[in-house]
């Protein structure tokens, strides 16, 4: 029972972690927080739904096509909405991304209806027994895909020129501009990557959750994940997500059931009060 709760918490935590990863990538590069990341995930899920259920694209192909489409959407959004506000205050950018999340949700509702849709996925519902624990294969897939994606991102940031230039401009935009890195292109690329991550999160969350234009609210649970891990740490996002997912499920067992829904936020408030930079985050000293 507890082991199963931990596994399902781990899987849901991976999804939170992937959404949080979207926040962290954008925050690291542009010091901006994208409140619409949950909606990017929702759009990803709906795009995959359109490809699979309406255009009859094979699942595996759709799994790779959707992130590309969502990456394009990310570039478009950055170009239209965020670029004009490059020098503006945090308040205005938060406002714009909140506006974006409302708009995306409304348009998704108009295009794909407000009903909960049935998402065809190839994962069987038959439980698999591993070491005495019965679990649905989808949970294992979610964990595997998350691990794979994080590994891919890690390699990308560590070993490719583009990845290193992304890191450089996150650390010091001016210096990297002087070194010949196009910081604006880096910003576009960051939004593209976070759109892709959001799309993958969308595809893998639907089989364990639901497909509805309100599923973006799941993104609100990813804020605690990002805060706990530290807003500027990529591994922190996944660890934070896993902590939230597991502790939420355990809170469902050991504490009154209603506590489960707000447990993530209680943890987030505690972390914000004790260590606002999170577990893996680094505290930025500001010079005057």
């Amino acid at each position: 029972m507890i082991a199963q709760q931990i596994i399902s918490g781990l899987a849901l935590g991976c999804v939170y972690g992937l959404i949080a990863l979207g926040f962290v990538l954008i925050f690291k590069a542009t010091q901006v927080i994208n409140f619409a990341q949950g909606e990017m995930m929702m759009i990803g899920a709906f795009v995959a739904y359109t490809l699979i259920a309406m255009l009859h694209v094979p699942f595996l192909l759709a799994f790779f096509l959707t992130p590309i489409i969502c990456g394009g959407l990310g570039i478009l959004l950055e170009r239209v909405l965020i670029r004009p506000l490059l020098r503006e205050s945090v308040v205005s950018i938060i406002m714009v991304t909140i506006g974006l999340s409302i708009t995306l949700r409304a348009f998704a509702g108009m295009i794909w209806s407000y009903d909960t849709l049935d998402f065809p996925h190839p994962f069987s519902d038959q439980g698999v027994q591993i070491g005495g624990i019965v679990m649905a294969p989808i949970y294992i897939w979610v964990i595997l895909i998350t691990v794979g994606l994080v590994f891919l991102l890690y390699t990308f940031f560590k070993f490719t020129t583009i990845g290193i230039s992304l890191q450089a401009s996150a650390q010091n935009p001016l210096a990297s501009l002087l070194m010949g890195i196009s910081v604006k292109r880096v910003y576009s690329l960051t939004w593209a990557i976070s759109g892709m991550v959001g799309a993958v999160a969308g595809i893998i969350v639907v089989p364990i959750s639901f497909l509805n234009c309100n599923m973006g609210f799941l993104g609100l649970k990813a804020f605690p994940a990002a805060v706990i891990g530290g807003f500027n740490s990529i591994p922190g996002a996944i660890v934070g997500g896993v902590i939230i997912g597991i502790s939420e499920n355990l809170a469902g067992i050991y504490l009154p059931l209603w506590f489960k829904d707000i447990f993530a936020y209680v943890i987030m408030l505690l972390v914000l009060m004790i260590r606002p930079e999170g577990i893996f985050g680094t505290h930025a000293q500001k010079k005057v």
Partner: protein, 338 residues
């Protein structure tokens, strides 16, 4: 040209006497309209006045002090529930319950404001968002007092034996409260308090160097903002006569932010203009539906979409909001022939 010649004129709430007369005229027009405009118009006016109070409250915090709150609906909920519970269950008269609910929200605002010394920008936004969710959950779970998820019925207010049981009558209460709120806010913000908040918003380090006590002013801004919002909540509860947590969600918190952004951050006139615009937006959409193509006009998410687009367009293209437009128009007319 309008040149301010003395310091005392700079300090006046309205720097010229004719601005008072404009205000009185506007007040008279609104009150007359609320009495003869019919039930629905009076209801809308009530709603506009209440939203204006909430927007002024949020503007003190976000516009003047630069602290973002995504949990202001929770302060509104605290005001609404406090007022309803003490009038219905403890039979406290309304005139006492109104300031008490503001004070209750202010007290909780003080507590929420305490950690704001360490948190700025996005972290504060997230903390207040979490606060909103937690208050929502507490209201739902504290069934014996708050009625839980089913909601709570409220009573129309009695003052000195007079029952304000219809929307036109209730307009007097909301309007007087609004005037008090606006004058007190204007009075507070023109003095050292308002300047300290503006200094904190523009540069915390500089403000601290100049001797502004950051912790004190930030908590005070939270308290005052929550107080105003609590008042709005109390008035809202006695307007609807039925409240539940559905009236105070994250989307409501966001709508107050939309109001002050659209109106113009940091100005009271902006909050007033933004609140009226956003409250009337659903009416305008319903009104313009006849002229839109049916596919757009009948789409279910139209209102939300318009909402989101208005927010984005204003932040990107008109960051100073309606107030900025108003100032621009004023300057343009002043220098017209040039």
């Amino acid at each position: 040209m309008d040149i301010r010649e003395s310091y005392s004129r700079d300090l006046r709430i309205f720097d010229q006497w004719y601005k008072w007369s404009w205000f009185v005229l506007l007040a008279a027009a609104l009150l007359v309209y609320s009495q003869i405009g019919g039930y629905y118009a009076a209801y809308l006016l009530n709603l506009i006045f209440i939203n204006m109070i909430a927007a002024v409250g949020l503007n003190v915090l976000t516009g003047c002090a630069g602290l973002i709150s995504l949990g202001h609906a929770a302060f509104m909920a605290i005001g609404a529930y406090t007022s309803t519970i003490i009038t219905v269950k403890l039979s406290v008269p309304f005139w006492l319950a109104l300031p008490m609910s503001g004070a209750m929200a202010g007290l909780i605002g003080f507590v929420v404001g305490l950690p704001s010394l360490r948190l700025t920008g996005i972290y504060l936004a997230l903390a207040t968002m979490a606060f909103g969710f937690i208050i929502d959950e507490i209201i739902i779970q504290w069934h014996s007092v708050t009625g839980g998820a089913e909601g709570l019925s409220s009573l129309p207010p009695h003052i000195l034996g007079f029952v304000f049981d219809s929307y036109p009558k209730y307009c007097f209460i909301t309007f007087i409260s609004l005037s008090l709120v606006i004058f007190s806010a204007k009075n507070l913000l023109r003095g050292p308090f308002g300047r300290a908040l503006a200094a904190i918003r523009d540069s915390e380090t500089a403000a601290e160097t100049m001797g502004v006590n950051l912790g004190w002013y930030k908590t005070l801004a939270f308290t005052l903002s929550a107080f105003y919002t609590g008042l709005a909540g109390s008035l809202y509860a006695h307007l609807l006569l039925f409240i539940s947590t559905d009236n105070f969600t994250l989307l409501h918190s966001i709508s107050y932010i939309v109001m002050i952004v659209v109106g113009g951050l940091g100005s009271l006139s902006g909050a007033v203009m933004g609140a009226s615009f956003i409250t009337l937006l659903p009416e305008m959409i319903a009104f313009s539906k006849d002229w839109l193509p049916a596919a757009i006009g009948n789409a279910a998410g139209l209102q939300a979409a318009v909402y989101g687009i208005v927010l984005m367009v204003f932040v990107i293209l008109q960051p100073t909001g309606f107030y900025g437009l108003w100032i621009r128009a004023k300057i343009w007319w002043k220098t017209f022939p040039l």
